[in-house]
Amino acid sequence: MSIEVKKLVKAFGEKKVIDDVSFKVNDGEILAIVGFSGSGKSTILKLISNLVEKDSGEIITSGGDIAFVFQYSALFDSLTVFDNIAFALHERNDLRKKYSEKQIREIVNEKLGLVGLKGIENLFPSELSGGMQKRVSFARAIVTEPKVILYDEPTAGLDPIASTLIEDYILRLRNETGATSIVVTHQMSTIQRTADKVIMLYDGKIVFTGTPQELCNTDNEYAKQFVTASIEGPMHIIEQ
């Protein structure tokens, strides 16, 4: 399944957060979106998954489920880890009667194993560390094996090994199910290890498009500033 975004515009009040953005992610491709804090990365994902209404432009997806891994986990805090992960299987109208309780238990266990968190089924989200919450949130989103997955900073705040686990699984999902993904991330390792293509946002516009290699070697001033994490450059984080 592919995702195509054409001339997308979104403003909050007076401020144009997304200003004429177009890109395409082909079937089975992984696109990384990078950019400084507040550049509108989360907003793009929310527009694609219809959580935020666009002002103008087009978003074309060829139907099917769009899974979303939230930046701040967004786990249901009144439910246990087990119920969080099993949520879609228990509550979604079309899946409700599809699996037996035993099958659900197996699926949840498998997903928990994948993110390296076996044995925490009965804990509540508030009893987990931030990184653990993030991994549970990841498991919850992929429980239905969706064909399009949007990841909002899936590895931010994780230790290097947990990051590698998640990165591997992003790749594995793509290789096994052909899932199309968009990964918002700041982490170089995540970009290098998972992405086929990278776009960079600044001030609501795309200022760089290329492969992860090109991101590191290009003459593009924006990309250079991002990769070297320099204060000097075309992008200003602090308003002057």
Partner: protein, 269 residues
């Protein structure tokens, strides 16, 4: 021209009209939100999305956990009334009517409205803050991306629980109130229980009971719907949760008094 406009903008009249306009727009927006949520609630009911397991949880919350407060409020109201009028009524030869007076007051009005107030402050506020927290922590967004309708999963069980449990709460607390009245008239004026309980049926008719229960169902639905709506549309962090909760309580209070008035006009005018 710009100067005139600037001076005009400083005047109290301008400020007054502007604040009225802002409030009016806000009012329309809230009404729109409540209408949208009501429609979506019914749609989810007809689609059979009501979650049974959640419904039981919410019924417990609405009915059982609120009983101590509703019972004591309605009971004490009854004690207050009886201790003020019982002696005087007996002295004036109206001892036969103490039970009737208490029953009419409680069944027609006090039982249901006092329970309503208690439920708003206990359950309504917690519904609003619960949904508002879910909104600002993106849990409602998460519901949507998991393809679960928030109206079927969150609204339906809460509103249906309100409609089912509110009548129960009103019946139990009214009975308790009438009982407390009997006890008080015995202690305060030496009125016998037999006289008190026989006089109840002088004042109460089937119509009163019917109206009382109909009001209770309406109150339950309206309190749950308004509270959930404010929670659902909350925004902006912890402060937003606080604002949503306060507004849910205020709107619910006003709404049930208005509904109460409409019932009074329709049935007893």
């Amino acid at each position: 021209m710009a100067l005139v406009r600037n001076i005009l903008k400083q005047t109290v009249t301008y400020k007054l009209f502007k604040s009225i306009l802002v409030n009016l727009i806000d009012f329309m927006e809230v009404m729109g939100n409540i209408t949208t949520c009501t429609i979506e609630f019914f749609k989810s009911l007809f689609k059979g999305e009501l979650d049974r397991k959640e419904l039981i949880v919410q019924c417990e919350r609405f009915g059982i956990s609120s009983l101590p407060i509703t019972l004591s409020i309605v009971g004490m109201t009854s004690v207050i009334i009886v201790s003020q009028v019982a002696q005087e009524m007996v002295k004036q030869g109206g001892g036969n009517f103490v039970g009737a007076l208490v029953a009419v007051l409680i069944v027609r009005e006090l039982g249901v409205i006092m329970s309503g107030f208690a439920i708003i402050s206990m359950i309504g506020s917690s519904l609003a803050s619960e949904l508002a927290t879910m909104r600002v922590t993106e849990q409602i967004d998460a519901l949507k991306t998991l393809k679960v309708n928030p109206f079927g999963y969150l609204f339906a069980p809460r509103v249906v629980a309100g409609m089912l449990m509110m009548p129960l709460v009103v019946i139990i607390s009214s009975l308790f109130g009438i009982l407390a009245g009997a006890l008080t008239s015995d202690l305060a004026a030496g009125l016998s229980y037999r006289v008190y309980f026989e006089s109840i049926w002088i004042g109460i008719f089937a119509k009163d009971l019917f109206v009382c229960l109909a009001k209770a169902v309406c109150f339950g639905a309206v309190i749950a719907l308004i509270s959930c709506t404010f929670g659902y549309y909350a925004s902006g962090g912890a402060k937003g949760v606080g604002i949503a909760t306060t507004r849910a309580v205020v709107w619910s209070f006003v709404a049930i008094v208005i509904i109460d008035m409409l019932f009074a006009i329709a049935f007893f005018f």
